[in-house]
Amino acid sequence: MSIRLENISKTFGQFQALSPLSLNIDEGEMIGLLGPSGSGKTTLLRIIAGLEGADSGRIQFGERDVTNLHVRDRHVGFVFQNYALFRHMTVADNVAFGLEVMDAKQRPNKAEIQQRVKHLLEMVQLGHLANRYPSQLSGGQKQRIALARALATKPDVLLLDEPFGALDAKVRKELRRWLRSLHDEIGFTSVFVTHDQEEALELSDRVVVMSNGHIEQVDEPAQLYAQPNSRFVFDFLGNVNVFDGKLEQSRLNNEQAWISAPSSDVPLNNGQLYIRSHELALHTDATAVANLPLRVVAVNPIGPEVRVELEPHEWQSEQIWEADLSHADYARNPVKRGEIVFAEPKNAYFFREGSQQAPEQVSWDSASQPVKAK
């Protein structure tokens, strides 16, 4: 079932939680709503479900206008952030609830319900817990039961509010994968909320980045990463180093530091270069590309990478810089705390001063382009 939102807005009292926004979701798509706390993700999800009424706008499910339809009749599955399992019912009763409250006409008979619940519990691999109470389950188990309960009535649309928020990294990954395969198998349309970028990027067909009640960008994960269309999206999707430069002699200067004009054919100007931390190389001397002296503040080997924290030396930056090196790269030039090193960008995004437009992608050597296809 496709979903179509048109000019949806919502205020709480004085506070504009959602500015008018529109969004189309295709049938069978899995959409991730990503954004910082308070950006309106939950509000949007609840409006789609019908748990909250929009102040203006229209919602369509497929061809049907559901704007004024009651939650009950929208036939969506909803998984709450903290599960909202019925505490006084066993796991099996929780899952059966949606079936048992159906109209007498539609309701499957007892045996069918039992059969269906059994099947659902097996699907979420928790058949053996049918008679437990929610308080006796771990977080991951609760989450799966909440999913099974939401799926019991075979909704066309599944909505999930931070479905993996409270879980361990490991459990989280497992469940994430499981949800994806379930989605691909059954083929419902789903929308989930998260504030974990990795989760959004890994799980969704398209990601909706929100901030302050606006949609900042809607794109496929690779696209989003390759072409963030605003500083906000950029900032939000992982660590980034910002070089604030003035154009002088076809170089971007910041006090003693400078970066030369990139090889790509982009007319330069005053503005900011955004450089991702794994697109920085560290050298012992300035190169032709850049003269960015930095003092090493910390060197942290984090799993497959070495993260080097850097402090601008004789030039200004609002934040600490960070370079993520492979162990191999690091071994070639094992910098130490306190040393001065010179960074060289491979790729960057250029935000023109005074312009609100999407940044231009620039590069200095033949660094490979990120993949774009899924």
Partner: protein, 285 residues
């Protein structure tokens, strides 16, 4: 774009998510109107029959004013005592395990169940100078029965459950972390209680004390048996209402009752609002 605009600008009619708004609010309002507000019209109509000056005269009668003083003082003392004792009871019931705890818990509601007159007679028996307590107190030179102190005793007896039952659930819900935070910062038990726990209990405690206070203002049955009812000394306002009733002076009775009622409602309303503010500061919503 512009074609959908007209449709989109119409404000959607959102149905309430949870069912029963009309039913529950409607029947609550109906019930409140029928059971609580409608009878109030009787009071209003009785007092409306009097002129303003007559109303004023009735409610400011010297003896009535004296009774306000006695009643308010006794109610203040009784409810403050109940605040302390109720807090202690709630604390002990929530924080400690000991044999007989459940019976103690059950006993708290006893004053609700006893007819107030029985309570009054029983208290008078105990506190009279020849009673179990009266004898002991007499040796200390304290007279309770047939003095204003007796009023205090009767009032606190009948209203103790209010404090316990409002404080108890809040105390149960109190998360241990704040307390532990206080202790790790080096605070003594007493500082933690006074500066961290007590402020969290304030809203409930104040509500409980206020309920206890208003209940005490209206208490009649239990009080008259131990009060002594001496003019200007131990006559309570409820007795003055009763006297007016004996004289078949319904308007005057209604007038005095309306004073108590308005005072109580104002107090409760003020406390509801204060509590909402306080809680808002605590919870931010």
């Amino acid at each position: 774009m512009s074609t959908t605009l007209s449709a989109a600008s119409a404000k959607p009619r959102h149905k309430r998510v949870l069912p029963g708004f009309g039913l529950s609010l409607g029947s609550s309002l109906f019930f409140i109107s029928l059971i609580l507000l409608l009878p109030m019209t009787g009071l209003v109509m009785q007092t409306a029959n009097m002129g303003w000056s007559e109303y004023w005269y009735v409610i400011t009668d010297e003896r009535v004013v004296a009774s306000y003083k006695v009643t308010i003082w006794a109610a203040v003392i009784a409810s403050v005592f109940n605040g302390l004792f109720g807090l202690l009871l709630a604390w002990v019931l929530v924080r400690y395990e000991f044999p007989g705890k459940r019976i103690l818990d059950a006993l708290v509601d006893l004053p609700f169940a006893l007819p107030t007159a029985v309570a009054g007679i029983t208290l008078a028996t105990l506190y009279a100078e020849n009673g179990w307590y009266g004898q002991l107190l007499a040796e200390l030179g304290i007279k309770v029965a047939y003095t204003p102190l007796g009023i205090v005793v009767a009032m606190s007896f009948t209203s103790i459950p209010f404090v316990v039952r409002t404080v108890q659930p809040v105390l149960e819900e109190l998360a241990p972390e704040e307390e532990e935070a206080g202790i790790t910062l080096g605070a003594s038990d007493w500082s933690v209680f006074r500066r961290i726990i007590l402020p969290s209990l304030w809203p409930a405690l104040v509500t409980g004390v206020a309920l206890s206070f208003t209940r005490s203002l209206g208490e009649f049955g239990a009080v008259i048996f131990v009060a002594g009812n001496m003019p200007y000394i131990s006559e309570i306002t409820s007795l003055m209402i009763f006297v007016r009733l004996q004289e078949f002076d319904f308007p005057a009775a209604s007038a005095i009752a309306s004073v108590v009622l308005i005072a109580s409602l104002l107090l409760l309303f003020a406390i509801n609002i204060w509590q909402a503010r306080y809680l808002k500061r605590l919870h931010g919503r």
